[in-house]
């Protein structure tokens, strides 16, 4: 089987990755709902993962794919902790709108 990159081309992966990352960034910046913000962060993370895998295949080097496994595991753990925090926030103030989280004011 021919290399998948020959069919699509590395630059398309890069463009997709940048697009996903920017969507994530804007999601983080514009949305007020903490869960959405959280999801946007995940999108950014996965954009980077995608880039990793793409370049790994491009360079014929499996190290990148191994990295992705690690980062996905870590992301899973991070999601568990993050969601737990959000649940606890919701229990305390009855909302997950980040505009309401003003306790960090100096």
């Amino acid at each position: 089987m021919d290399n998948i990159l020959n069919q699509i081309g590395i630059e398309n992966y890069i463009f997709l990755s940048i697009l996903l990352f920017c969507i994530g960034v804007f999601g983080v910046l514009y949305r007020r709902n903490a869960i959405i913000v959280f999801m946007s962060i995940e999108i950014m993370l996965n954009a980077v993962n995608l880039l990793f895998v793409a370049f790994s295949t491009y360079h014929q080097d499996p190290k990148g794919q191994v990295f992705v496994f690690f980062s996905m595991t870590v992301a899973a753990a991070e999601v568990a902790v993050g969601l737990a925090i959000l649940v606890s926030v919701f229990r305390n103030i009855g909302s997950v709108d980040i505009s309401n989280l003003k306790n960090l004011k100096g």
Partner: protein, 625 residues
């Protein structure tokens, strides 16, 4: 075997100290005193054992207890050196120490803090042993500082009296000035030799490479240290004030042992002083002047202990005179005999003070001869010894010093001789005022006059015997001490052939002493003269009575400016510095208050800032290069 015995010698007084500090009060006065004394007696027994061993083998014992300091090529061990010099010192420190501990059991019996007293005394003996047996200058310095501490503690033993506390502080601070010199001397020697071990320094010095200027500075610094500890001009003023302490302390620390530490140190370092003749000259001159000045002040003192204190300063001056002339063995000889008779004199005066319930003014004594025959007899023997009457111990040692002085410098000899005549005068003045004619105290005191108990009289008798026969260790002709000390002295001391000149000098010294005694006799026995009240003293004698106003001089020259300076620091400089530091704090606080406004608490804003920051970093990394 030897190792553990040395440790026993060194540590028993320390164990006694620990016991008395922690358990002394509970154990009671009898046990506290007995154990305190026993600890020193054990050390004495060990000293005798090692002395015998050394006498038989002639080989010094050097023991390295542990590695201590290693910086660069400077290496200092915690080592012990038992040679001829340290064993001599050990013998009389622990020997006289034992007697004085024994004496103190009775003397301090009415004091509520007797356990504390014995704790301090034991600690003193421990540090004194450390000072003496140390194999290098740094170990010696530990002991040097330790005995200073104990001296401070014991001078201020009756701390409820503010004057006594002041005397203690004065002693400590005066010693500190000297210690600074000692320390600088140690530093210079450490940089010169890369070792502080006496034996190694001696070898290095005899190997050559003379850097005489630095040697002289080092020797001078060491001598400054010695002037502090051994109460020489200009740092002697603490010793007379140190008489505030209990009398056994004066006898042990301020007459027999601690104040001779300076002489010990200089004798230890004799190889260094031998190559620095200009420092030796300074030592000899300072010693002679001290002997003369202190003796002249002693002529007019009325406090029995003050007379003895000035006499101690004067005798120490004579020893320094001998050191300065390179006659270390003669100085050591006088240290030993002086320890015997001066300890006896102090303990005797303690016995008198004890009988009079604390009275120290000789104008209120008199006629005690019949009431206190043993004290009188022992003190008389010691007085004859210090006055230099044949054949008591002091005659031989003092005569040797004067003989050496006569050989080197007639001026110094004359100063020493005048000091000796004055010594004979004021010592017999003390005896006549205290023991002869009629009692001048109150009727009540007169009824209570009594001879002291045997715990007090026995040490007196033993010390008086030593003061009588102590001269035997170095009689002209046999010179046992000179031969004994030969291995530790760099330069061989030439023997005196007993020619007509020597006999003539002995005769002159003896005549001088008799003149002094006769002078005192005619004034205080024949005329029955009693020193006037303080206010009636006028003229030059008033100047001397007030100790040449040296204390006042130091007060106005050094203390007043220092006080003014510290006052300036307190009232002007400290607030100024404080305000600067305070101002810095205020500025930081204000900045923080402004910066706090950035922290709005809006997470959206934080995230925005975060993204901008990352973008800035990334663009810098990729575009900025």
């Amino acid at each position: 075997m030897d190792n553990s015995l040395v440790l026993l010698l060194l540590l028993t007084p320390f164990v006694g100290f620990l016991f008395n500090v922690f358990l002394g009060k509970k154990a009671g006065k009898g046990i506290s005193g007995a154990l305190g004394t026993l600890a020193v007696v054990v050390s004495f027994a060990m000293s005798v054992y090692f002395f015998m061993q050394l006498n038989a083998s002639g080989k010094p014992i050097a023991i390295k207890l542990l590695d201590w300091i290693q910086i660069g090529n400077l290496k200092v061990d915690f080592g012990i050196l038992l040679d001829q010099l340290s064993l001599l010192w050990l013998l009389f420190v622990t020997g006289i120490g034992s007697l004085i501990h024994l004496y103190s059991i009775s003397y301090m019996h009415d004091d509520e803090n007797m356990h504390k007293f014995f704790a301090y005394l034991n600690l003193f003996v421990f540090f004194m042993i450390t000072l003496v047996v140390g194999s290098n200058l740094l170990v010696m310095f530990i002991g040097w500082e330790g005995v200073g501490l104990c001296s401070y503690l014991l001078i201020g033993f009756w701390h409820k009296n503010q004057e006594y506390n002041d005397a203690a502080k004065k002693a400590f601070i005066m010693n500190r000035i000297g210690d600074l010199g000692f320390l600088i001397g140690i530093f210079i020697l450490a940089s010169l030799f890369s070792t502080l071990n006496f034996v190694e320094m001696k070898q290095a010095l005899s190997a050559g490479n003379t850097n005489t200027a630095l040697y002289s500075i080092a020797a001078l610094c060491l001598f400054i240290g010695a002037t502090g500890k051994s109460a020489q001009l200009p740092l002697y003023t603490w010793l007379p004030d140190a008489m505030a302490g209990p009398t056994p302390v004066s006898a042990l620390i301020h007459a027999a042992t601690m104040v001779t530490a300076g002489i010990f140190m200089i004798t230890r370092m004799n190889f260094l002083f031998d190559v620095t003749p200009e420092v030796q000259n300074i030592i000899a001159i300072v010693g002679a002047i001290t002997a003369l000045v202190a003796a002249s002040i002693g002529l007019f003192q009325n406090d029995i202990k003050k007379v003895l204190a000035y006499s101690t300063v004067s005798q120490l001056g004579l020893m320094f005179l001998a050191l300065g002339l390179g006659a270390y063995n003669v100085a050591v000889f006088h240290v030993i005999t002086h320890a015997f008779f001066k300890a006896c004199l102090f303990l005797g005066s303690g016995s008198v003070i004890h009988a009079l319930h604390g009275e120290q003014d000789m104008r209120k004594m008199g006629g005690l001869r019949k009431a206190m025959p043993i004290t009188f007899a022992t003190m008389l023997i010691s007085t004859l010894a210090i006055a230099g009457i044949f054949p008591f111990a002091g005659f031989w040692s003092k005569d040797e010093i004067l003989m050496v002085a006569f050989e080197h410098n007639k001026g110094l000899w004359i100063m020493g001789s005048i000091a000796s005549i004055m010594t004979a005068f004021y010592m017999f003045r003390l005896m006549y005022l205290t023991f002869f004619r009629d009692f001048r105290g109150t009727e009540e005191q007169k009824h209570h006059l009594h001879e002291s108990p045997s715990l007090i009289t026995w040490p007196l008798i033993i010390l008086a015997a030593l003061a009588t026969f102590g001269g035997l260790i170095n009689l002209p002709g046999s010179n046992w001490l000179n031969h004994f000390l030969e291995p530790i002295l760099a330069r061989k001391h030439e023997e005196h052939a007993l020619g007509s000149q020597e006999y003539m000098l002995m005769g002159i010294a003896l005549t001088g002493a008799i003149i002094g005694i006769g002078w005192a006799y005619s004034k205080y026995i024949k005329e029955g003269f009693v020193p006037k009240q303080d206010s009636e003293i006028v003229g030059f004698s008033k100047t001397i009575y007030h100790k040449y106003y040296v204390d006042e001089f130091y007060m106005s020259l050094i203390l007043k400016p220092l006080n003014a300076l510290s006052n300036f620091f307190r009232t002007t400089l400290e607030p100024a510095l404080g305000n600067i530091v305070y101002g810095l704090g205020t500025v930081a606080n204000g900045l923080g208050n402004q910066g706090k406004k950035v922290q709005t608490g809006s997470i959206g804003l934080y995230l925005f800032a975060f993204v901008i920051g990352v973008l800035a970093l990334v663009s810098y990394l990729f575009l900025g290069q």
